[in-house]
């Protein structure tokens, strides 16, 4: 009970001196962060192998020629980036509704959380439908895992003067990588929608109201934003570069 504070007492107040959580986050939220980190490694490996294969290829299907139609409408040519732009907007928008749900959760406003979560789920479903249309369109052109369009169709996707043998080789790589990476991302969006639905049902049942905190919304929010984050990279490396 002396008034002087020793050096030892000073040290005891640091975050790592024990007696409290140094990261100041709840266990589940920290684990979600670590899971997302491992997921980031998986997506990075896929995207980096895509980059390596594309770097070493003599030519590559031009994104502005492959993705120049708007699936689901009659626009077949001359509209590059329009459809994927819509998809990007939908996903960013659903990220905003998610973070608004988290914000409503901080104020313990059950009704607002429900509406923003429903908005997020609708956004996710819209994105998945767009992706289904996009896949269907590419499939109808002849692209699939280890399948490429016939010679005449294939020529439309390259700059003039690229030999057919090169077109064949890189189109195979393009098709495999495109369907694998957007498929893996789409699978994440799909599971995100399922998780969001489960959490929304829990909110409706009043599980988190009883618990006194809507921290669970933050955890699924982290996952949902991560899916958005990955899309930002997929969008750049498949559609822009």
């Amino acid at each position: 009970m002396s008034a002087t504070v020793t050096q030892i007492d000073d040290l005891k107040t640091t975050p790592w001196s024990g007696g409290r959580s140094p990261f100041n986050v709840e266990y589940g939220k920290m684990m979600m962060w670590f899971f997302l980190l491992s997921d980031a490694f998986t997506f990075s490996s896929l995207l980096i192998s895509y980059g390596a294969l594309r770097f070493s290829a003599p030519t590559w299907p031009s994104p502005s020629l492959v993705f120049q139609s708007v699936p689901g409408t009659s626009i077949e040519h001359g509209a590059p980036l329009v459809f994927v732009g819509l998809m990007t907007f939908i996903l960013i928008m659903s990220s905003v509704t998610m973070v608004l749900a988290v914000e409503a959760g901080h104020r313990n406003s059950k009704k607002e959380v429900i509406w923003w979560m429903i908005g997020t789920i609708i956004g996710g479903l819209m994105f998945l439908s767009c992706q289904a249309l996009e896949w269907n369109h590419l499939h109808s052109e002849g692209f699939w895992w280890s399948a490429i369009p016939n010679k005449e169709t294939l020529q439309e996707f390259f700059e003039k003067g690229v030999p057919f043998a090169q077109q064949q080789m890189t189109s195979h790589q393009f098709a495999n990588l495109f369907f694998t990476i957007t498929g893996f991302h789409g699978f994440h969006v799909f599971s995100g929608v399922i998780i969001n639905i489960i959490i929304t049902l829990n909110v409706l049942k009043g599980t988190y109201e009883k618990r006194g905190s809507y921290l669970m919304i933050e955890k699924v929010g982290l996952y949902w934003h991560f899916v958005d984050l990955v899309w930002v990279f997929v969008f750049t490396f498949f559609y822009l570069v």
């Binding site: 100041n24 590059p80 914000e103």
Partner: protein, 115 residues
Amino acid sequence: MSSEPTEVHHAEGEHGDTMTRKRIWKVFFILLGITCVEFFIALYLVPNGHMAIKVANPVYIVLTLFKAFYIVAFFMHLKFEKVGLVYAILVPILFIIGLILVLTNESHHWITLRL
């Protein structure tokens, strides 16, 4: 043990510097703006020859990293977490940078293998 999560939650609410609705929309418009700039480059500057594709590609990547920063820092709330957690998440990203360096270097050798 059961009181721990709520304690953490209260402590988080106390330091005030968190996401308000105003800030959420601000970040949204930043993300939208950056995406519009990317579209402007891809649909106008590159096709009309104002910008070479070799210049445009690094610009896309820098803009993408900006978007990634805003999503992780604000939407995922990482900017407002304890510095220990921030480093625990960000430092392992160095491994990804390592893999990028290794494989871009490697892919340059694959070109000669293919010839």
